[in-house]
C-alpha cells in the first residue's frame, strides 16, 4: 500500500513555528519495517549477483543503512528505492520525473549524495558523514519540496 500523504502537521497558530513548518508529511507507519525488509533482501545477495563479479553487499553498510533509516524524522518522505551497487555498497533513491536524490553509502561511515533536477539546473554532489542525520534530512526535504511544487 502506498504511503498516505497528510496535509499540514497541525494548525499554524503561532508564527514562532513558521520556520519549522512542514507543509506535507508522508504518513507511513511501515516506513522503517519496509525499508529494513528491502535491506535484508540485499543482505541475501550472493557474490556475482550482478553477473559481472559484484561482491556481496557489505554487512557493515547494511547495518549503517538500517541505523540511518531509524534515525530519520518520522513521516519525512515516501519510501526510497533501495538499490544494490556493484562495488558491494548500496544507495537510497528518491525520484519523481527528472528530479532525483541519491544517498549512496560508499562505506559504513560515508554518504555520497547527488541532488539532480534539470529544471532547477541542480547537479550537486558531495560527501558527508553518515552520522549527520540533519544534513540528510535537509537533502530529503529538498527533494520533497520540489515534488510538491510540480
Amino acid at each position: 500500500m502506498p504511503p498516505t500523504m497528510l496535509d499540514g502537521c497541525g494548525t499554524a497558530a503561532s508564527h514562532e513555528f513558521e520556520d519549522n513548518w512542514v507543509p506535507t508529511q508522508y504518513y507511513d507507519p511501515e516506513f522503517v519495517a519496509r525499508v529494513d525488509a528491502d535491506l535484508d533482501k540485499l543482505a541475501q545477495l550472493p557474490a556475482e549477483w550482478d553477473k559481472f563479479g559484484a561482491p556481496p553487499i557489505s554487512r557493515d553498510v547494511i547495518d549503517a543503512a538500517k541505523r540511518f533509516i531509524r534515525e530519520l524524522p518520522e513521516h519525512l518522505a515516501p519510501r526510497p528505492y533501495v538499490t544494490p551497487l556493484a562495488p558491494g555498497n548500496l544507495q537510497f533513491e528518491w525520484q519523481e520525473g527528472d528530479r532525483l536524490l541519491q544517498l549512496e553509502f560508499e562505506d559504513a561511515r560515508t554518504i555520497r549524495y547527488l541532488k539532480w533536477d534539470p529544471t532547477e539546473q541542480m547537479e550537486d554532489e558531495d560527501v558527508f558523514s553518515a552520522k549527520r542525520i540533519e544534513l540528510a534530512t535537509n537533502l530529503i526535504r529538498w527533494f520533497i519540496r520540489g515534488v510538491e511544487n510540480v
Binding site: 553477473k51 559484484a54 528505492y81 544507495q91 554532489e125
Partner: protein
Amino acid sequence: MSEGASRGPAVPPEEDLYRAVTVSNWWRNGRPTSAVFTAFGKHNKLSANIVSKTVVDDIVQRFPGCGVIQFNCGKARELGFDAREEPDPHFPDNAGHVHIYFDGTGKRKKAQQLAAEFCTVVREPQFGP
C-alpha cells in the same frame, strides 16, 4: 607499472558500446538508472561490448532476460569512462569485450547520471519475478 599502462588498447571514440543491464533495481520507468555505471574503489571497472564487433542477441543469450543499452565511447570518455579492449573473464570467446574504467575525479555520481541519460535502450529487459 601504473594501472593505465597495464590496460588494453583504447577503444576508438567513434565506436559505440553495448552494456547489459542484469539487475532489476537498475531499471526504472523504461530506462536504465545511473547504478548501471557505478564503479569505484576495488570495483572500478565495468564490462561492455563494442557494437561493431557484437551481435546483440549474443549478449541476451549470455544473460537471459537482460536489458541492453548503447552509448558512444567518445562521449563516455569525456565523462571519465575509459573503454579498453580486454578479454572477458567470464566468456573468453566474447571478442568484442571491453572494460570501462572510471577515471573521473570528484563528481562520480554526476558522471554516472549523465551517462545513464545519454544512452539509448536497445533491448528492454524481461526480469523474472
